[in-house]
Each structure stands twice: as structure tokens, then as C-alpha cells.
């Protein structure tokens, strides 16, 4: 049997295993190893198994993930977030879905500090979801907002995704980072519009509190909220002043959170251990899945899928817009199963020559590629941002509810992607004037 057939069978089996409750981190390597053995025998499969887990885990850049998780857990468990949400509840009460809108923009602010969508979703999930749930927000709306707005982490600098794309395509990273800002903001606005409209049509999604705080009460609520804005200012400030890189800012942010909690007398041994444990568990389970996703990437590459797709695209002799549509469909499908790094590694070798041949602007393409891999973080069955949020909320919300809530955000994404495709200037204008 040839490589592509084996790949097709393996993906079919993967679907069956996932449907049969096999944990994702076990289903992915099962089919990948099976496929590699079928293609090339046991030696490559087992050789890879010996070295890949360590080589993947031993990463400086990815260390931002556990650190931002820890920061989120610390701020939540020490109660730093509670007063902020009490204030937000008063201030945003008039706006339909006010807390969801506030969380959405808080994510955008946090994204300015975090290089990764996973880290943004993790930290913001810890801050915002329990508060929204305790105010009776719809579970899908609350978790969907955070999982989706986490993807802003890749658009507002710093961004690991753009660094990776820039390295791979040899495009200027600074230009790429700037190009992502406007699309990121458009996304945040689209999310906000959708949340407000949905909550206007169905007020039950986000119950408004009965209390009617006067201006005095509203101002009084502000005096307790200083720790969290201070924390965000510390982190963003440390990055932009050049004291810390995005990776280092994760550790620094955790330390700041710890110090603030100590200074305000909110830290107990119990909350500390609980926060650390949460960060550890989430990191371990996410990376365990990622190892499987990388094995799948390697299996598909061995099966010759990149070459096959490249030949197909070349033989169709498509127009520019058709090539972009094909790219979007391919990323949508791959994004269902693979991790962002895996998708880039698999697809860029195929698409780059095609884009180059058509003379397309690789900065604009970079924005589209990052957009699509970020969408992949939100789509089932393997949607890493949804998993992060699921890990943060525990048993309170099911994965199905999270994906259902994300459906509306994916509609927004469709609109945003259409805008970005139709008007490349949305991506290219800002880098042009800077």
C-alpha cells in the first residue's frame, strides 16, 4: 500500500478512537506509530519514541506556557481577580454580556504580554471564567469567550507564531509582528459585536445583576482592584522596557503575582500549593497531547502527504484567490487535528513555492497562516485552546459545551478571514507606515 492510503486509513482510525473516548494524547501516538511501522518498520517508529519526548520538552521558548499558567492560577486562588470582577460587574452591567466583553479586551491586553495563545487562554481562563460562571453566565459563552480571545495572543506582539513563520519563510519578523496588530484588533471587535448582539437577543445568556450601583459605589469598587492592573502593567512594562523577553516575563509575572499576594496578605500555603499543582497538571496534559501531535506530523510527512498536496495544487493551475481558498480549507482540516507548529511544518514547504510563484506578499500570507492555525486551536476534535480552558474549569463545564460556545466565535472568524483576504491592506497598512 502506498503512503497516502496508509495516511488515510490512519486518520479514519484516529476518528474512531477519539469517538470511543480514547484520550487524545493516547489516540494520536497510537495511529502515528502504527502508521510509521506500516510505512517504514519498527526501527524508525521506536527510535523516534525514544528521543522525541525529551527533545520536545527541553525547550526554552515553551517554558512561557507553565509560567503564565502559574501566574493565572496564583492571581485566581489568591483572590486578586475577584475584586476586579466585582468592579467590572458594576461598570459593565449596562452592556449586554458586559463581563464577556470585558474579558475579551482583558485578553487583548494580556496578549500584549504573552507570546502564545495557549498561555493567554490559560491565564485569562483562570482569571475570568469562574467569575463569569458565578454571575450565571452561559457556560458556552463564558468558556468560548476565553478560548477564542486567547488567540489574540498570537496577533498582538510578542508572538511565538509569527516568530516561527518569519524564521521558516525568511520574512522580517518585526514587520510580521506589526502586520498582526490590526487583524488582531479587528478580531477583538468582531468578537465584541457578536457577544453584545447575542446577549441582546437572548438576555438569559448573561444575566444582568439586579443591583443598581450609583456612581459612588462604582468608584468605591475601583479602589480594591489595583493589584491586577498593576500586575499586567508590570508584565507588559517589563517586556516593552526591555527588562525581560516574553519568555522571561512569564516567570517574572508569576513572581510579581506572588509578591502582590504576599503584600496584600492573601497568600496561604494551601493556595500556593494549589496554584502550582494546577499549573503543573495543565502543562503536563497539554504537552502530553502535543507529543502525539508531533508524531502525527512526522508520520504524515513520511507518508508523502506534503508532496502529494503540492503536486495536486500545482496540477490544478489555480488562480490566486482559488489558491488562497484551497489554503484556507487545508488549514481548516489540518487544524482540526494538528498543533500549530505541526501545521506550519507540514504545509509551508508545500504552499510557499506556490505563493512565491504567484508573487503574493508573504507578510499578508503570514497573517492569514497565523489566523488559520489560531482557528485550528478552536476547532474540534483537537482544539488546544479549548483543552486549556477545559483544564482550567475542570468538571464545571464539559468539552462539548466549550466547543458549542466556540461555534459563534468561529462564525466571527469566518467574517474576519473574509475581510483579511478581500483587503490585504488591513494587514499591510500598519507595517507600511511604520
Amino acid at each position: 500500500m502506498d503512503g497516502p492510503s496508509i495516511a488515510l486509513i490512519a486518520v479514519a482510525i484516529l476518528f474512531v478512537l477519539l469517538a470511543a473516548r480514547v484520550p487524545i494524547g493516547i489516540a494520536l501516538p497510537t495511529v502515528s506509530l502504527g502508521g510509521i511501522i506500516a510505512l517504514r518498520g519498527t526501527r524508525p517508529a521506536f527510535g523516534m519514541l525514544g528521543s522525541l519526548p525529551f527533545d520536545f520538552a527541553a525547550s526554552w521558548s515553551l517554558s512561557a506556557v507553565p509560567m503564565f499558567l502559574l501566574m493565572g492560577a496564583l492571581t485566581y486562588h489568591t483572590g486578586l481577580t475577584r475584586s476586579l470582577y466585582a468592579a467590572a460587574r458594576l461598570w459593565f452591567n449596562p452592556l449586554p454580556g458586559g463581563l464577556a466583553v470585558a474579558s475579551n479586551f482583558a485578553s487583548a491586553g494580556f496578549a500584549a504580554a504573552s507570546g502564545s495563545s495557549l498561555a493567554t487562554a490559560a491565564a485569562m481562563g483562570r482569571l475570568a471564567i469562574p467569575e463569569m460562571l458565578s454571575f450565571g453566565y452561559n457556560k458556552g459563552l463564558a468558556t468560548g469567550t476565553i478560548a477564542a480571545s486567547g488567540t489574540l495572543g498570537a496577533f498582538i506582539p510578542p508572538s511565538i507564531a509569527f516568530v516561527l513563520y518569519g524564521w521558516y519563510t525568511q520574512q522580517p519578523i518585526g514587520t510580521l509582528l506589526v502586520a498582526g496588530i490590526v487583524p488582531g484588533l479587528i478580531t477583538a471587535v468582531a468578537y465584541t459585536a457578536m457577544i453584545v448582539i447575542r446577549c441582546m437577543l437572548d438576555p438569559g445568556l448573561a444575566p444582568r445583576a439586579e443591583i443598581r450601583g450609583g456612581l459612588a459605589e462604582k468608584l468605591a469598587a475601583l479602589k480594591d482592584i489595583w493589584p491586577l492592573p498593576l500586575l499586567i502593567v508590570c508584565i507588559v512594562g517589563s517586556i516593552f522596557s526591555g527588562i525581560a523577553t516574553a519568555t522571561e516575563a512569564g516567570a517574572l509575572g508569576s513572581s510579581f503575582a506572588l509578591l502582590i499576594a504576599l503584600a496584600t496578605g492573601r497568600l496561604t500555603r494551601e493556595t500556593f500549593v494549589r496554584s502550582v499543582m494546577e499549573a503543573i497538571e495543565t502543562t503536563a496534559s497539554i504537552f502530553f497531547i502535543a507529543i502525539g501531535a508531533i508524531l502525527l506530523t512526522r508520520f504524515l510527512a513520511m507518508a508523502g502527504i506534503p508532496n502529494l498536496m503540492g503536486d495536486l495544487v500545482a496540477s490544478w493551475e489555480l488562480s490566486t484567490i482559488a489558491v488562497i481558498l484551497v489554503m484556507i480549507v487545508v488549514y481548516l482540516v489540518l487544524g482540526m487535528f494538528l498543533d500549530p507548529i505541526g501545521i506550519m511544518l507540514l504545509t509551508l514547504p508545500i504552499f510557499l513555492p506556490v505563493f512565491d510563484g504567484l508573487g503574493l506578499d508573504l507578510i499578508w500570507i503570514g497573517v492569514l497562516v497565523v489566523k488559520m492555525i489560531e482557528v485550528g486551536l478552536l476547532t474540534p476534535p483537537v482544539g488546544m485552546n479549548a483543552f486549556v480552558v477545559k483544564n482550567v474549569v475542570g468538571d464545571a463545564v464539559s468539552l462539548n459545551q466549550i466547543f458549542a460556545g466556540l461555534g459563534w466565535f468561529l462564525v466571527c472568524e469566518a467574517v474576519v478571514i473574509a475581510l483579511l483576504v478581500a483587503w490585504p491592506e488591513l494587514s499591510l497598512w500598519l507595517p507600511g507606515v511604520m
Binding site: G47, D55, W167, Q170, G174, T245, R298, M302
Partner: protein
């Protein structure tokens, strides 16, 4: 080609470099084409770039285990797997002319060092060609222009380059290359040891203000074409001959492409307003002094790691450097003449 049934072989080449890298575009892709042509299409290669099949640290292992058939192997990551082959990597700071050192490394590895060859064969590996990237320069994002300015400056460097900048009086900071741009822009590092290619690939020309025009070293011992030994030995004789016949041009292409790219990148950076600064005497003296100690250090490190005959091997290598200095002085800018010399002195004599 006669109508007889002939096996078509398709080999994979795994690389940790990005797809549009100069090594892929200017050296490997043309090499793969020439080999396909010379074998009437019977031997083809597929390049799998970007570390898809394994990171740079896994390079030896993925070839050994046939995850890929061939690939790029950097000696800094093979110190324990291939200690004899990799021991020359300690001498990178000696590289005043990267083309000379790369040619010498090819002759050392493929002709003059039997222990290197057996060591690789024991790991089911055969090595066919080596290259050197263009040399490291000191690039600064502030007003650092010479030795005195460099004191206590945070300078991004690793390995022997890190030790070197320490002797210049700078403070070595460790930052992964993917974060160099950010680090220079925001001041986590004032300077970085970097190759000219990074001016474009990492967009350093946007943040760098001064480049000190002093070649400080190059990883001249980088494996350009490693293959799984069983796979190589299993190829028909004519296919192996086609590979061998094209190796000299592969190496020459890689080195000259690096030289061209480096020159263009520096010129482009200057056009963007980056100053190319002549090194001051204190700096060149400090570098010369450091280089004097590097041979002894290489031998000592190798002996510490339990390798026999390190001193003789280093001596042999330095004699080859002198030999190639003379040859390169003659061939100059003539790439074809340089490739002919490589073929005559190395690839026609090498046993793989």
C-alpha cells in the same frame, strides 16, 4: 537508457534549516538535480526542511534509524555520538577564512582521518560532504564600535564565541537565536555574535547600528550530507558514482553561495544605514591572543574526553589548513577551479 527494468530510488533528506535557506536553494537542490540527471532519473531526492522529521539535536539519530535516508548534521550536537569527528568543532574561533577551513575539514574528515570514518560507520552513518557558514561578526544595537566600548556590554554568544567575547571584556548572555531580534531591540542584549545572513533572516538590520568587520569564527565542520550507511551501500554502483562525482560542486556551491549572500547582506545593511566598522587594534590583538590558545584548548578538551591522538589529529588538520590556504590563494574567485581542486584532492580519493 536501455529498456531494461531499473530500480527507481527515492531518498529523503532531513534538514533542520528553513525551506528557503541558501544551503537548500543554492547547494542541495542543484546537487539533487544533477544526481537525478546523471542517473537518468533513477535516483531522486526529497528535501524535508524545517526540522519536520527531527530537531537539529536528533539529526544523527533520525539518519541512524532510517527515519530519513540522509540529512544535515551539525557537529556541535554530536560531540558524544561522534567524538572524534566533532572534536575539530572546538577550533571554530581559528576560522579566519571559512572557505579554507571548510575545504580542510572535508579533506580531514573524508581522507585523512580513518578514526573519524570508522566511528561514523559504527553508527551506521556515512558522511559525504562538509561545509562552513559565513563567519560570525560582532553586531551591536547601540554605539559600540570597538574594544573599549565593549566592556561589560551584554553580548549574545554561545560556545567558544561566548568565551571569546568574555576575553574581550563583554558579558556573555545566552539567548536563543529566535529571540535575538527581540533581545537587541529591547536591550536585553547590546550586541550579538551573528552571521551576516541573520541581518536578513532574523531582520537584524532593523535593530543593529554597528557591525564590527572582524571574522571571529565559523562552524567549519558542519555535515552537509550524511547518509544511512546501509542505504548508501545498497545503492547500485552507478548511483554511488553519480553522488561522488557531484560532491565537489555541492561543497563549492554551498561555500560560494554563503560568501555571495554574506556580501550582499552586508551591503544591503550598509545601504539601510548600518555602519560597517573597521576593527580597532586592541580587538584584533585580543582575537589573535585568544586564537593562540585555541589549539591547546582543543587538544586538552579532547584528551579530557578520553580521545587518543588528539594532538596529532589537530596537527594534521592545521597542515591541511595551510595546504588549502595555498590552493585557495590560487583558485581565488574561480568557483569551478576550486571545485576541481576539491575533486582532485578529496572526493576522487575519499573512501566512503
Amino acid at each position: 537508457v536501455p529498456g531494461a527494468a531499473r530500480a527507481e530510488t527515492s531518498l529523503t533528506y532531513g534538514s533542520s534549516l528553513p525551506a528557503p535557506h541558501v544551503i537548500h536553494e543554492k547547494a542541495l537542490a542543484p546537487f539533487f538535480e544533477r544526481v537525478a540527471e546523471d542517473t537518468g532519473g533513477a535516483l531522486r531526492w526529497e528535501l524535508i526542511p524545517g526540522g519536520t522529521m527531527g530537531s537539529v539535536k536528533e539529526a544523527v539519530q533520525i539518519i541512524e534509524d532510517s527515519i530519513v535516508d540522509s540529512g544535515l548534521v551539525l557537529d556541535i550536537y554530536t560531540r558524544q555520538e561522534l567524538p572524534v569527528t566533532s572534536m575539530f568543532g572546538d577550533m571554530i574561533a581559528l576560522t579566519d577564512d571559512f572557505i579554507v577551513f571548510a575545504a580542510a575539514a572535508n579533506e580531514m574528515q573524508l581522507v585523512a582521518c580513518e578514526a573519524c570514518r570508522t566511528e561514523r560507520a559504527d553508527k551506521d552513518l556515512v558522511s559525504l560532504a562538509y561545509y562552513a557558514p559565513d563567519p560570525y561578526l560582532l553586531m551591536c544595537a547601540d554605539d559600540t564600535r570597538g574594544y573599549d566600548d565593549l566592556q561589560n556590554k551584554k553580548t549574545r554568544a554561545s560556545g567558544r564565541m561566548g568565551v571569546l567575547v568574555e576575553t574581550f571584556g563583554a558579558t556573555t548572555v545566552t539567548i536563543p537565536s529566535s529571540e535575538v531580534y527581540e533581545a537587541l531591540q529591547r536591550g536585553q542584549a547590546n550586541c550579538s555574535v551573528a552571521s551576516a545572513a541573520w541581518l536578513e533572516s532574523y531582520n537584524l538590520s532593523d535593530v543593529v547600528t554597528n557591525i564590527i568587520d572582524l571574522p571571529m569564527g565559523s562552524y567549519f565542520n558542519a555535515g552537509l550530507l550524511y547518509m544511512n550507511k546501509a542505504t548508501f551501500d545498497g545503492l547500485p554502483e552507478d548511483q554511488r558514482a553519480a553522488i561522488r562525482g557531484n560532491l565537489a560542486k555541492l561543497v563549492a556551491d554551498a561555500l560560494f553561495a554563503y560568501r555571495t549572500q554574506s556580501g550582499e547582506a552586508l551591503a544591503e545593511a550598509e545601504r539601510k544605514g548600518v555602519a560597517l566598522v573597521e576593527p580597532d587594534p586592541k580587538l584584533t590583538e585580543a582575537l589573535a591572543e585568544f586564537r593562540d590558545g585555541e589549539i591547546a584548548n582543543t587538544v586538552a578538551t579532547a584528551e579530557e574526553a578520553g580521545l587518543d591522538g588528539a594532538a596529532e589529529r589537530v596537527e594534521t588538520f592545521m597542515a591541511l589548513v595551510d595546504k588549502w590556504r595555498r590552493i585557495v590563494a590560487e583558485t581565488g574567485d574561480d568557483e569551478a577551479a576550486f571545485a576541481d581542486a576539491l575533486d582532485r584532492e578529496i572526493f576522487s580519493r575519499a573512501e566512503f
